[in-house]
Symmetry: C2
């Protein structure tokens, strides 16, 4: 119903465009009548992206053929016209087997999975009951156009928003991870927590895919990351996309502004992130009617209390199960911190009342005998209002704990680690080898050698793994160094450090003035 009404409206709208002055025409969905677009292009209306691109993308089979021809890696696929062909595809590709409608498929509609040959018939029926074409023909089953796809053994789904200007300049947004729920995008994490190599690969595939299409605009490239580290193209949308909604709050240029810049021929904006991390959570319709609205509105109410959260409510008149009713974007210092906030918002188990501030600095030491020294770092961080956790983690006596602490620190939102150790002081260096975070080492003076053993054990790290070493027993400086490091992304902290330096200077000048006035003898006798 919605589909053919939309189609009818599109046709009427496009025909009216001819009568008014229209600089450029773009689309907000690929499910439009391409024949009309082509006619408009022939009559001199500038369509961005080009009708040829919409034609390729709106038929997912044609899309696969196109990208396959351009050397883009994607799961194997073939057209099917009857049950026999489908069975042969099943023998070739194995099960589970994806059965997909060529056209008018979105948000999980038009896709079905057959886990075995016995499920093929029902899967084909399940793809979509019928579709109504632009010229009012009703198609169903194989008549609507189907193809099969080999199951991609993916471990994550990734997406890249790609902008292409009218001058063919191409810019990619950061790679994000998309988490689906019943085939519908549910959560987007930016940037994706995958190795840099994978991000680069995903970017390359996305760049190459969009280079093969014609016209300007923003495109979303959905990708699979397979168990063996390959990136396969899933599908492309020729428009701003759910996986790019986070850009409104997290990037210098939102995908919507970027699309407009692209289609009207302005220079493309900077697509990089202005916040270190973002999580987008879709508000999917639960049930029809009031209860569903109540749940969504409760969630929005909770989001209003979360720092860095922005709620978007689309104000759709009706709620349906799995319908996208709105979304909530959280931006902040790391995906780990935002995940905790998201779970707290959803009252997930273990996160019901977690309003505590996530620690930004972790202070670890090999033994409680180091605490009298290391406490000075904690005091400095408290003074600067930096949330801190203090833990005993020994390289030699609790190696497993050290491994898990260091390798999970970043994901938990820790930004700097201070590690203190004495003697054959291995903790700072070992922690540094297990995390990309900056690690500050405090050589604690042990009973012999006056701390020179601790100092050299910490500072003389091999090439590749740096430890920022401070003076023997000088945990105060470790705390101050951590504040300076956090200041790299926090102008307030930098200003407070400046103030600290001025206060220290004034304190010393007061003493200097006293010495000048009182003379050295009186000064000493006080």
């Amino acid at each position: 119903m919605i589909t053919w009404l939309g189609a009818l409206m599109t046709v009427l709208l496009l025909k009216n465009l001819l009568k008014v002055r229209c600089g450029v025409l773009t689309v907000e969905t690929e499910h439009v009548d391409v024949a009309t677009l082509e006619k408009l292009e022939q009559q001199g209306i500038d369509c961005e992206p080009k009708a040829s691109t919409i034609r390729i993308i709106q038929d997912k089979y044609l899309q696969k053929v196109h990208f396959s021809r351009h050397g883009i890696p994607l799961p194997e696929f073939m057209e099917i016209n009857n049950l026999e062909e489908t069975k042969r595809a099943g023998e070739l590709y194995g099960y589970p087997l994806m059965i997909k409608g060529k056209r008018l498929a979105y948000d999980g509609r038009g896709n079905a999975v057959a886990k075995s040959e016995g499920e093929l018939s029902s899967a084909i029926d399940g793809v979509h009951m019928v579709i109504v074409t632009w010229d009012w023909r009703i198609l169903g089953g194989f008549g609507r156009g189907l193809y099969v796809e080999k199951w991609a053994p993916f471990i994550k789904e990734l997406a890249v928003i790609v902008a292409r200007g009218r001058d063919n300049s191409i810019l990619c947004y950061p790679v994000v991870e998309t988490i689906h729920k019943e085939n519908i995008c549910h959560i987007v994490k930016a940037p994706a927590d995958v190795p840099w190599r994978i991000r680069k690969l995903a970017n390359d595939v996305a760049y190459k895919a969009i280079s093969s299409l014609e016209g300007a605009g923003v495109f979303a490239v959905e990708l699979f990351l397979t168990r063996d580290g390959q990136i396969l193209l899933n599908e492309v949308a020729p428009r701003p996309h759910n996986s790019g909604h986070h850009t409104i709050e997290s990037c210098y240029t939102s995908q919507f502004e970027q699309h407009l810049r692209a289609v009207v021929g302005l220079p493309l904006g900077d697509p990089s992130m202005k916040t270190p991390a973002a999580i987008m959570y879709n508000l999917l319709g639960e049930d029809e009617g009031e209860p569903g609205f109540k749940v969504a509105h409760q969630l929005i109410a909770r989001a209003l209390e979360i720092p860095g959260a922005t709620a978007h409510w689309y104000d759709k008149p009706e709620m349906r199960r799995q319908r996208k009713m709105g979304h909530i974007t959280l931006v902040g210092p790391s995906v780990g911190v935002l995940e905790a906030r998201r779970k707290s918002m959803l009252r997930e188990e273990g996160y019901e009342n977690r309003n505590e501030v996530a620690p930004r600095v972790g202070i670890v030491m090999g033994s409680d005998s180091d605490l009298p020294v290391m406490k000075d770092a904690a005091r400095i961080l408290n003074m600067f209002g930096v949330s801190t956790e203090v833990r005993i983690v020994s390289a030699h006596r609790t190696p497993e704990l050290m491994y898990s602490y260091a390798s999970s620190a970043r994901e938990r939102g820790i930004q700097v680690i201070i590690a203190g150790a004495g003697g054959a002081a291995h903790l700072p260096g070992m922690v540094a080898s297990l995390t990309p975070l900056p690690v500050i080492g405090v050589p604690v003076r042990a009973s012999t050698l006056d701390g020179i053993d601790s100092l050299l054990s910490i500072v003389q790290m091999p090439r590749g793994v740096p430890v920022a070493t401070v003076a023997v027993n000088n945990a105060t400086n470790a705390g101050l160094l951590a504040v300076r490091m956090l200041g790299v992304g926090d102008a307030d902290l930098l200003a407070r450090m400046n103030q600290y330096q001025e206060d220290t200077r004034d304190y010393v000048l007061t003493k200097a003035e006293k010495l000048r006035k009182d003379g050295w003898e009186a000064y000493l006798n006080q």
Copy 2:
């Protein structure tokens, strides 16, 4: 004309409100008919902020009396009713003397300066020719209500946006510096480059001022910073304000969203900055007609090419000299970097074609003999795509250069400094004492003592001034440490560091596998 037409429209609008369901009423200007607001309040309409607040604020003399009674520091002032009183005020306060209209003053209208007693008459005439009141009376000269203010010897103008919830919770946005041009706000820098103590003081004054008023909403508090480090209140606006426009792009909650949250009784949002810095540049009308539009549009076109710049065009039908036609906000890593971008956008002298990337890391060394060691840091930073400058700066031979380099580094946009030195190695510690930035020290091995002199000179810093020391001659690790530090505010760099660590591991594992397969003798013989 605009004024009384606006007033008439306000009255009509407010009267109509009584007929419709209205949850809460707020204002976007303080120049409204307060009597009507009060009548509406009596009839049960919820006005936020309260009519009492609007009454105090719209009469600037009443405002001064109010804040003075509440102990808020502000320049001395007195009411004037005739030239004689004005002359006496001039004798008391000295010249220059500010003469101000009590009401309907904004953007420099309604203010005049008399530099001597001889200028008093013309200044009084210059305040405003006439004003038309709500009840159509035409007032001019003393009849419109004037007061004088003692000249505040300010060195900077600051502003704080303060949000007040319906539950009386109060949150302050970061203190900004406002730069005026012919009494009209021209540039806003966030955060203000003033010591932290001044920022705290400005916050305290703003907080106290808004606490003394009734009702919810966003308020702008304009302040003077005097030569002797005092903060004086200039004036308050009971609404989102030009000095808070940057919050749209730079803060977790924009002042506009915050105002709505406040007046409808939602929890206030996080007012802190999500980007380290922002600069807002007002597009002020130049001349009437086309040429003015052309200049503004050229500027917007240039802004579109600047990373992190967003143009806002208000689409006002007419341009007038000094009229606010739009604004451009730049957000990015530091006010220094943004200032260079703003000047480049305006084609200011020396910035005409400065499109080079501002360096994020400064590598300094005492002598070119350190370069063979220090080059490794530059190579690492190049590899990670971090913009870097390499300079010779000697603590002992160019102390003035060292002073100016270190103390200006932050303002120029440098985020981390790497300093290498040998022997009595003073450079890293001296640089660290002159900047709040994190400083990495590389002990360069000199001809004697095998580097132990350099190491101890750099690492054994006194409490208060930390240097992040790496191993002797290990500038590679200094580069890697700088990347980790920048990763605190740059998730991409952190991911790349992770990849670097994985690549290093794989490289070693390849060698390990080769040794296992070939055996140690064959391995050694290769």
